[in-house]
Amino acid sequence: MLNQPSHSVYLDFPGIYSSAGVGIDRLWQAICAGPLSPKPLHGASEAWPQREAYLVDRFDLSALRLDRKMLRTVTGQSSLALYGAHLSLAQTDPSSRFDGSRCGLYLGLPTIDEEIPSWSALEKAPTRLCPTDLSDLFLRETPPLSGLTLLNSSACAHISSTFGLTGTMAAFSPFSDAGLQAVIEGALSLIEGENENVLVGAVSPTVSPVRILQYDHLLWQGPQRMGEGAAYVMLRKGQDEEKSARPVRIAGFWRTFGMTETARVEALSSAIEQALAMAKIPPSAIDWILADSTWTQINHKAQMRAMEICFENNQSCLPLYSAESVTGVMGPAQPMTHLLLALQGMRTGRKLLYGPHGAGLEEEMTGTQYVLVTACGAHGQFIAVILQGRYQ
């Protein structure tokens, strides 16, 4: 699918907003400087398994001149999605006259911000509330456009409307695999001639108490912290990129599923092996592995074991890195962030590995480079994507 020159899809215009700030340069620097400290969650109590997270500062969307009704339907995560898209698209054309008519949009989205509208309505409930009064309470206290804020897909509509994108589209949810699904389907839409450009991106959930409740139910394993952020990149298919001194293209991918512990190991191993086969390279050609920030024991073990199987090596010897000590775990945005780090690394001829005291350790990566990015969905969805670059 991707191994013919005419099918090459290139990456450009990385836009990212994470707890390290705006831009991939800043994230790279933050990683080299050492782990960031998470921030305390507002109102968190001793009972919660997570009381701090990698939060982003709120930002000003006024520059985007949003429609009044649209503003009323923009939730926390949709706002992040819009801002991330803006950061990528703003680089495409300095005159800000980007032509969106042949630009597609493929997004990885989390489940919608939960507490709206019901929680805000409950806050206005009388002290003694009968279940039968809930209907009246909700009808009275729910914001008028909340029907649209209930849909995570409204983020697509916000971006399409704000930037005039009318190409093909899809949105996937809710975990880290959704981010790489967006990359794969966006790339395929270029190869199959549907778009001239594709904006692909992913956004994290807004860190909220209900997310902690849900992740607790899904057996969040412990040391990692949740993070907020959005990461985007533009995909293109064309001659200009091939002539560029530092092109980065998608060389291979594969997606699989496995639910049990054994099946998960097999599924991710198979995804990596098939992605290598599509890229027509042996495992030894991989220079850098950006592994998903797994947050369940079953996925953590599956990922480590699959790496050992595919690379015939102990994980401690692999060129492995994951950015969660600076970004937190960002759901669909996590592998997208890793994809952007890969792009940055291949453009600058460097990679990041685990260094002393939690700081990232830079190493050189020259010549033809291959980087593997993985995603491990909470329910057993596994994806491997291989990028190819050339640093001269």
Partner: protein
């Protein structure tokens, strides 16, 4: 080399029936699933009509399937039942025998149980601490503890599938997107078969409040259970429904190798965005035009080859007009739109939201297979601006070689599928 993609199994769960044969028979006879409805224990909710699945009939029908007896979200239960029917309908004891098989499904809003939120209430108001401390008391079938991808993962787990498992979040176009992406995966050779479709249930208090405040569902009591009337002058909003539709898509090679019954071919898929308003479709249907044109191009089909469109047809004032204008634009050459039959299944099924595209695609498949077009019922007074042949009130026997199935989501997220008759 690209593979042709065939529909070899189908399953539907909705207010009209619990299998595709019953639903198809109901559609052809103009039977409606829309009825007077209210939340248990809730008086005077402004929305008074819906097309719910009958819980008693569902429980009786599927009591023999152990995997449906576990606690799960309502939409997931419907989706699992529809998947079981589709796989059985395809004559497969072991679907994993087809080789690499994946799942792509569309889903919408998680099903919120208001009682879960009541757990949070304290003397001082709602408290996340209170809710967290009582998390063991949460309804195990509530969306608070289930996630959007649970249906796809549950189907893959139940049938031991190892291919891609994907959840689409594109509002009311979710199932059509899932069918379209599944079709593409088979066509390009990534998988041999895909379980595709969607499941949804918005008939819960928080979601219905949200939809009602948006002005989307009709609150009229003028027409009783004839409330859902796409393209009619007196249409006043959609009628919410619940259920699921699942199709088994299979490569030509796989279907022929096992001598499968082939219902029809999925020949093309197109998607688009309106880039207009979050709260309304483009008034000229520009996004819908793009989706239909892309689907036709993808199928290599000229507009004049199409004879039937299974419309999105929601019965909302804005959608039905903009969809009519979009159809007239796409099929403008030689005024081919005058020869099209446009049918709106939602007049009988109600609006299954993210799942809607799946039963409607199944009805489209059956139209091309059987040469029967279901009617748009309750079309009693034509809206002068909606001036196509909507097959009013009576099904029509007519040969259909190529048909389109449209699904247009909130915020202008559009998908269109091309279905072609299979000639053996």
């Amino acid at each position: 080399m690209s593979q042709r993609v065939f529909v070899t199994g189908m399953g539907v769960i909705c207010g009209l029936g619990l299998d595709w044969k019953t639903v198809w028979s109901g559609l052809l006879s103009g039977r409606s699933a829309v009825k007077k409805w209210q939340f248990p224990g809730v008086q005077n909710f402004p929305v008074q009509y819906a097309a719910p699945v009958d819980d008693c009939s569902f429980a009786n029908r599927f009591s023999g399937l152990p995997f449906l007896q576990k606690p799960m979200e309502r939409r997931i239960r419907f989706g699992m039942a529809a998947a079981a029917e589709a796989i059985a309908d395809a004559g497969l004891d072991d679907i994993s025998s087809l080789g690499r098989v994946g799942v792509a499904v569309g889903s919408g809003v998680p099903d919120r149980d208001p009682d879960d939120f009541m757990l949070a209430l304290t003397e001082q108001g709602p408290s996340w601490d209170a809710l967290f401390s009582k998390r063991d008391q949460l309804n195990p079938g509530s969306g608070l503890t289930w996630t959007n991808d649970a249906l796809g993962a549950s189907i893959a787990e139940q049938y031991q599938l190892r291919g891609p498992v994907i959840n689409l979040s594109t509002a009311c176009a979710g199932a059509a997107h899932a069918i379209g992406l599944g079709f593409r995966m088979i066509r390009r050779g990534e998988v041999n078969a895909m379980v595709v479709g969607g499941a949804d249930s918005v008939l819960n208090l928080p979601t219905m409040v949200g939809l009602h405040l948006l002005g989307a569902p009709s609150t009229s009591d003028q027409f009783g259970d004839r409330l859902c009337r796409p393209f009619d002058r007196d249409r006043s909003g959609f009628v919410a429904a619940e259920g699921a539709g699942i199709l088994l898509l299979e490569s030509e090679k796989s279907a022929h190798a096992r001598n499968a019954t082939i219902y029809a071919e999925v020949a093309g898929f197109g998607s688009s965005m309106d880039a207009y308003k979050i709260t309304a479709p483009h008034p000229n249907g520009n996004g819908a035009v793009l989706a239909m044109q892309r689907a036709l191009k993808d199928a290599g089909v000229l507009p004049d080859a199409v004879s039937c469109i299974n419309a999105h047809g929601t019965s909302t004032p804005l959608n039905d007009l903009s969809e009519t204008l979009a159809i007239k634009t796409v099929f403008a050459e030689n005024r081919h739109y005058q020869h099209l039959r446009v049918t709106a299944n939602k007049s009988m099924l109600g609006h299954l939201i993210a799942a809607a595209g799946a039963p409607e695609c199944i009805a489209t498949v059956l139209s091309v297979r059987e040469g029967m077009i279901p009617p748009t019922i309750n079309l009693e007074n034509n809206d002068p601006a909606c001036d196509l042949d909507y097959v009013p009130n009576l099904a029509r026997r007519e040969s259909v070689a190529v048909a389109l199935s449209n699904s247009f989501g909130f915020g202008g997220l559009n998908a269109s599928l091309v279905v072609r008759r299979y000639e053996s």
